[in-house]
Symmetry: C2
Subunit: 479 residues, 2 copies
């Protein structure tokens, strides 16, 4: 079996080269394939099915919180992009420009959307007139383009898939509440569906979205101790409304400015799942988003009755609402074991002649390698229980990794010493001065990830300048 295993799972080990381990998994688990379109990728069926599961869960959460899906054009005229000063400064340097339609040069060039605030604003100006028209709670599932120099599958690519929520409200309070609500939706999704613990917080001024009053984010810690921004939610105040001339008549018949938000998560979450749960045998998928939750593998399938029994087990699991596959191909069981380990299938059900005789099967859990023998009559409940245990266990394991790699520091030297044990989150106090933020990064290598909502009073002084501290910041090396 060990030899068979080698055939499929020959990937670089995580400790040897984390970056290669990551791209090996992306390729060998058949999540993506490269193309001749530089910086873009094909998302293959297995990778796309993970995204479809994420979409389905998130889309329900969005609709349950009152949001409606829409679809904006993929192009933005240059003049429209330029209407909000900070926004255009942030995005113009990294957009793709369409200059010709067919054989004709366009009068005005169009950028391929890097994000759609400007299009939503133009639309709001058309449809928002009275307080009765508010709020509008919109979302769209599309792809966007940012002309990145260096790219990696899922983590940074020139085109990526995402959802962008855009909302407009009568008051600042409502808009701030929405910004927080959607950050909480993201955090809940990451923790419950992806089994990935996240830290919720606010970005510092230097790290805000272009055009935002404030940006909230969830930050996750990867296996290698690097931080990954897993989702963001922005409060815009009335800045965009001013720039785009969006006004409404309130109940007192006065013309006032509405307040806006936007929020998004991307296919980067697939990268986060790989780097949070994966191991040297491949992917480890959280059950909620796994395309296949359980795979049934017949042992000695040439023996009479084995394939029939395996098919029957598959049918029973499918009827119980579990996404299940039977692999009755002529590959060896060992090859199959390795293949579905590589693909991160949470549960493997083994059934052979001896099992049939004893009316039992073997259930193996991908996340911790545990194997148990289960009476056939308990199949559905046992698999369901193991799936639930996988989610809980994976979350606990990831949280344990995060906690053990989080260091509270009161001096720059302490930060440097902590990082010698390996990368991770640094908690340290900050005076609020951008100069200190820059100095911490320069001297220790970690940047500000966010100002966590859950604050701790580690000391009274800024870790950098020693002046009175305003807040605790979570620092880290970013993906």
């Amino acid at each position: 079996m060990a030899k068979d295993k080698k055939l499929v799972s020959e990937i670089t080990s995580m400790d040897e080269d984390f970056a290669r381990w990551y791209t090996d998994i992306c390729k060998k688990a058949e999540l993506v394939e490269y193309t001749s379109v530089k910086g873009c990728m094909v998302i293959r069926p297995y990778g796309y099915a993970i995204w479809e599961n994420m979409q389905r869960i998130l889309d329900k959460m969005f609709k349950d919180t009152g949001h409606e899906n829409v679809c904006m054009p993929m192009f933005i005229p240059e003049s429209l992009l330029q209407k909000e000063k900070d926004h255009v400064e942030g995005f113009a340097p990294e957009v793709a420009w369409v200059t010709h339609g067919g054989n004709e040069k366009l009068e005005e060039r169009l950028c391929v959307r890097p994000t759609s605030e400007t299009l939503f604003c133009e639309h709001y100006a058309n449809i928002v007139h009275s307080y009765r028209d508010l709020p509008k709670l919109y979302n769209q599932w599309v792809s966007v383009v940012r002309w990145e120099k260096t790219t990696r599958p899922f983590l940074r690519s020139r085109e990526f898939l995402w959802q962008e929520g855009h909302t407009i409200h009568a008051t600042a309070e409502e808009a701030v509440e929405e910004t927080e609500r959607m950050l909480n939706v993201y955090a809940e999704f990451c923790e419950k569906s992806l089994a990935m613990p996240v830290i919720k917080g606010k970005k510092t001024e230097s790290d805000k979205f272009a055009g935002a009053v404030s940006t909230y984010a969830i930050e996750a810690l990867m296996h290698d101790g690097k931080a990954l921004q897993a989702g963001t939610s922005h409060y815009f105040g009335d800045g965009f409304a001013k720039a785009f001339g969006i006004e409404y008549t309130d109940k007192e018949n006065k013309r006032v400015l509405p307040h806006q938000t936007s929020w998004g998560v991307t296919t980067r979450l697939i990268g986060a799942v790989i780097m949070t749960h994966g191991d040297d045998n491949g992917l480890v998928l959280p059950p909620a988003v796994a395309p296949i939750q359980a795979v049934v593998i017949p042992i000695a399938q040439h023996k009479e009755g084995v394939l029939e029994k395996a098919a029957a087990l598959k049918e029973r699991l499918a009827a119980a609402g579990i996404r299940v596959k039977l692999d009755d191909s002529d590959n060896s069981p060992g090859w199959k074991f390795a293949e579905y380990e590589m693909k991160g299938v949470p549960i493997r059900v083994e059934i052979g002649p001896k099992d049939i005789e004893q009316e039992q099967c073997v259930i193996a859990s991908r996340w911790n390698g545990e194997k148990v023998v289960v009476p056939l009559e308990d199949l559905e409940s046992a698999v369901a229980e193991k799936l639930e245990a996988a989610t809980a266990g994976m979350f606990a394991k990831a949280l344990q990794n995060q906690v053990s790699r989080t260091y509270s520091c009161t001096t720059l030297d302490e930060i440097t010493e902590s990082l010698e044990k390996g990368d991770g989150f640094i908690k340290a106090m900050w005076c609020g001065d951008e100069a200190c933020e820059d100095e911490v990064k320069e001297k220790t290598g970690v940047g500000s990830r966010c100002i966590p909502f859950e604050q701790e009073q580690l000391s009274d002084k800024c870790v950098c300048c020693g002046k009175p501290a305003k807040c605790m910041v979570c620092w880290g090396k970013a993906y």
Copy 2:
């Protein structure tokens, strides 16, 4: 009530100006909104929800026939587009070109995909090596761009949403079978879910997809007698495989060329629904794709108990799996009636004090205006029955329209005379010569829509030249 009605439903009448009637519905039913991006549109929540319902039904049909979803890049390098000669000739004149990324000029310009055959071919060349790798049955839900000169919401826009299926097979037979299978899936969807009769057939040589060996299509007849191509399915033979160097090793260990197909439907289907079922009061939606299948409207809602009862009816219908909305806003019942007629909601449930007293409600059907009084205890079954009756009734009505506007002709004069009664489908024999196809169009105004699979022997002679006929063609004026 009549006055209230005017407020919302002031649209051009169909007979007065069909084109304006159409765009009025698109705007007033809040399906789309125009933008400053020429030829592109915002699909608003109500319009997008129709598309989401179409997607859900079709996606299941695709998965039930073994297809998997993937996602290709939105860009195609110019050199890749040029690999298949016919294909590039067909599409290059109408693509949008990206020439700059950020501030830099690209070494090679990229077009925004008008369709993705070339990207799929490049991918196949990477992943198809042996007969064991075949077939690959792929689909993707994306938007594409074609630089059209004149545009209309849903019917023709520079960017539109669609699905494109792409498959690759070991043999020509399998690929032809797939082409036909997917055309049948489209026809079934149109007839069962959209209540829209279609004619299945093959396109003539002059009307084929760029690069195809043969193109199949479904054609529907709109209210105004014009034909609308509602879906296409293409058989490519091994032409693309040759151009892109896709080969596989067969069971006899020989290197051979695989065979390909592609097939697609677009948001144009929303336009087809509007123009097949709509009337002068607005949209009429088939229940399967209606965002709201039933709306509950309280009558005299200020009276005690009415709102509570209306809410209870809504809950009962929701529990029965019906997409239902309660409108308890302070608009008048008349305003609400007109509003949901405009939006094409299939069923309206009215409940007022007298109804409550008599333990009944009124159920009105949008498609035929029928109103019935139903005992409250039968609510769920009555609504379900009326929804089913709506689908059947709408289909029969549309079929009746199609049949009454279909003329069998044996001479060009007969075609001209038939069209004097109004536009419609013309059935007439054809010799197979492109010159005759052109002449029919020039002299009568109708072009070849398709060569129907269901052939009739109307005469032995070509309607145009009088030479021996090869087949019966369905002709019409196209959208």
